[in-house]
């Protein structure tokens, strides 16, 4: 094993500035979309009094839970003492901070009164999980910055593991809190399920890792830094486990709902008659985000190809966005069960007349705002890796530390040798 050396990302300036230019343009367009929605009001969006949270929330929640998931890699290295993951810790921390920033920006800029953010920061109702999340998010940012310091600065070395442990628990709390935003809502049938909290945790593992792998592979390939099979194999296998975890929770969620007769209509609608939401569930969440990536990851030939692994990661991200769309928007579109055993014949406010779901189609500014958040995250990451030493010079098989399993097999003496 050689000493891991970290270096700034040194791709040719023209290429770097080109990339930065593209990202900055997307951020700019996102900012214009925000300005338009803020100036006109939300009537220009697809959101309504029936579907109150729309596409910006799909992006925001996806980015926030991915942020927490991206930090997983650093935790595996520090807290669970897996030496192979240690060289990836810095990028993991940077991505976590960047994704959280992107997600929070989208969330905040979609508020009806974004200029009152200071009210949200100074006036709290501690019965609200939303208020708790404000602390969880800002605390996460502070902890990640401290974590990065402990990884990069020699003076921080002794604090690395304690900070890592705090970060691990904090990130679990953060994702649990995000899942609970939905899980605690007793009003809507599709929410009102405590399982949403752990489901969000597992989803964060999968989506965060997929984003991490894509960024890692892109950065290394662009600059021609070596990335060995060992590390890729470990990461893609880990991704496979996380995807299976998401499947498990999805299955249990639906089984839990199906068990109560009052939810039969909901599950039937979601899985069979929900139109776009049924499509998003089966094609997006299950097929694109789950089965196809699993097929690639465990395929004897394809799983060895970097491009296919990258494709699997991309599909997990697309599937993740689809799953957020189903969870956030589909659950609102399904009519609230205010009058069990009765059919709504007419309503002055879209109460699910004849069981019809609420309409929602994303407006362009909503999508642009969401993409702006993604671009913010990538922009922060691009600038970070360029100016500071986040990326290891090489992840080639012979450079990386030996697997901890081998250390155990060979014993401490063998490891030293």
């Amino acid at each position: 094993m050689k000493r891991i050396i970290y270096r700034e990302w040194r791709i040719p300036p023209a290429r770097y500035w080109g990339l930065l230019g593209i990202l900055a343009s997307v951020v700019g367009i996102g900012a214009l979309a925000f300005a338009y929605m803020e100036h006109e009001g939300h009537w220009v969006s697809g959101m309504s009094n029936s579907v109150v949270w729309g596409t910006p929330h799909v992006f925001a929640v996806f980015l926030i839970i991915s942020a927490s998931g991206a930090l997983n890699i650093a935790s595996i290295g520090t807290v669970f003492r897996k030496p192979l993951y240690k060289p990836l810790g810095r990028l993991s921390g940077l991505l976590a901070a960047a994704l959280l920033m992107g997600g929070l920006l989208v969330l905040v800029l979609d508020l009806g009164r974004p200029e009152r953010l200071v009210v949200a920061m100074t006036t709290y109702n501690f019965r609200s999980i939303f208020a708790w999340n404000i602390f969880l998010y800002s605390g996460f940012m502070a902890i990640v910055i401290a974590y990065l310091w402990s990884m990069a600065d020699r003076h921080g070395e002794p604090y690395n593991r304690p900070i890592g442990i705090v970060a691990t628990f904090w990130r679990l709390a953060l994702t649990t809190g995000t899942g609970s935003i939905f899980g605690f809502l007793v009003a809507r049938q599709a929410y009102d399920a405590a399982i949403l909290a752990p489901m969000f945790v597992v989803m964060s593992f999968a989506y965060g890792l997929a984003i991490f792998m894509l960024v890692l592979m892109f950065a290394f390939t662009e600059e021609g830094r070596p990335i060995g099979e060992r590390i890729l194999c470990r990461l893609k296998n880990l991704l496979g486990i996380f995807i299976l975890g998401v499947f498990y929770f999805t299955l249990v969620y639906h089984l839990t709902k199906l068990y109560g007769a009052k939810n039969h209509d909901l599950v039937g609608w979601l899985l069979l008659d929900g139109g776009i939401y049924t499509f998003m569930f089966w094609v997006g969440w299950v097929l694109v985000g789950g089965l196809v990536p699993l097929g690639i990851i465990y395929h004897p030939v394809l799983s060895k190809d970097k491009n296919w692994i990258a494709a699997a990661c991309g599909l997990v991200i697309v599937g993740g966005l689809a799953s957020m769309y189903v969870i956030i928007i589909g659950s609102q579109a399904y009519p609230m069960q205010m009058f069990p055993g009765q059919t709504v014949l007419a309503s002055g406010f879209f109460d699910g007349v004849q069981g019809e779901a609420s309409r929602y189609s994303p407006a362009i500014p909503e999508i642009l705002l969401g993409l702006g958040g993604v671009a913010v995250a990538l922009l922060i990451t691009s600038v970070g890796v360029r100016v500071l030493q986040f990326l290891p010079e090489s992840l080639a098989d012979d450079v990386l530390p030996v697997d901890e399993e081998k250390i155990v097999e060979q014993g401490p003496a063998g490891a030293k040798a």
Partner: protein
């Protein structure tokens, strides 16, 4: 012991030098007093009913007799719109009517139901149910969604950040988000783009000691008398007497929210 308030270090010549200033101050205070005093007096007279703090001695509520609620009548909805300035909302140029209908603020709506088993048809108005344990208040991050001591659940428009979490949490779909810039509104019901709002039991009437709500008056004038307003805590109030005589229900009783709006005949 020495008194701390005793002016021990006053300059000897302070008196003569200050006399001119004192005279000026006296005149200025007199003039200012003469100008401001009538305003203060008038203001305090006008504000008398509102200056009393809301107490928990009362709990305002509604009882809706669905048997009396007429099919096709929307008097309560129209009256609410007029009372709260919701009739001043205009569809933005370029918006589709269908989408706008789902975006404009609605504080009270008529719902027509049919029992799946028996085919019995019921009409009723739906609005904020003014829960004793309101989910919208629980989830509001800033505490803008709040319950008054007299049971009225409403939104403080100064601290609402427009996150819409309360709308996600309300089991009655009672809340509306203001989707566009306000062009016209009533002084008694200030409204603003980007905030959430809902029925507040005509809170401005409560504050001036009036005895009814716009929907109740309209329903009575239309000859139906399907809605009764009153103090749920007062054993002598009409609403309490009627509740004691007739069977009534809360919508979504399973949530144990103890709503201030009750329905009979469903």
């Amino acid at each position: 012991m020495k008194d701390h308030h005793e002016p021990t270090d006053r300059p000897a010549d302070a008196g003569p030098a200050d006399s001119g200033r004192r005279a000026f101050m006296g005149v200025a205070a007199g003039v200012a007093g003469a100008v401001v005093a009538p305003g203060v007096v008038l203001h305090s007279v006008a504000a008398a009913p509102r200056s009393e703090a809301v107490t928990g001695d009362v709990r305002w509520g509604l009882l809706i007799d669905t048997a009396k609620c007429a099919d096709g009548c929307s008097a309560c909805v129209e009256a609410c719109d007029r009372e709260n300035g919701l009739n001043l909302q205009n569809k933005p140029e370029g918006a589709s009517q269908e989408h706008w209908d789902d975006q404009k603020a609605v504080w009270i709506r008529k719902v027509k139901l049919q029992d799946n088993q028996t085919g019995r048809v019921t009409n009723l108005p739906m609005m904020c149910q003014h829960c004793e344990n309101p989910p919208c208040v629980d989830v509001c991050p800033t505490g803008a969604s709040f319950k008054r001591a007299d049971g009225i659940v409403m939104v403080d428009r100064h601290t609402c950040i427009g996150c819409r979490y309360c709308m996600m949490a309300c089991p009655y779909k009672a809340r509306s988000f203001i989707h566009k810039v306000m062009e016209d509104q009533l002084t008694r019901v200030p409204r603003g783009k980007g905030c959430v709002e809902s029925c507040n039991l005509c809170v401005h009437r409560r504050d001036f000691g009036e005895e009814s709500t716009a929907c109740v008056d309209a329903c009575r004038e239309a000859g139906h008398e399907a809605i009764v307003f009153g103090d749920l805590k007062d054993p002598e109030s009409a609403i309490r007497k009627q509740l004691a005589e007739t069977a009534s229900r809360q919508i979504r009783e399973d949530l144990s929210l103890n709503t201030g709006v009750r329905y009979s005949g469903i």
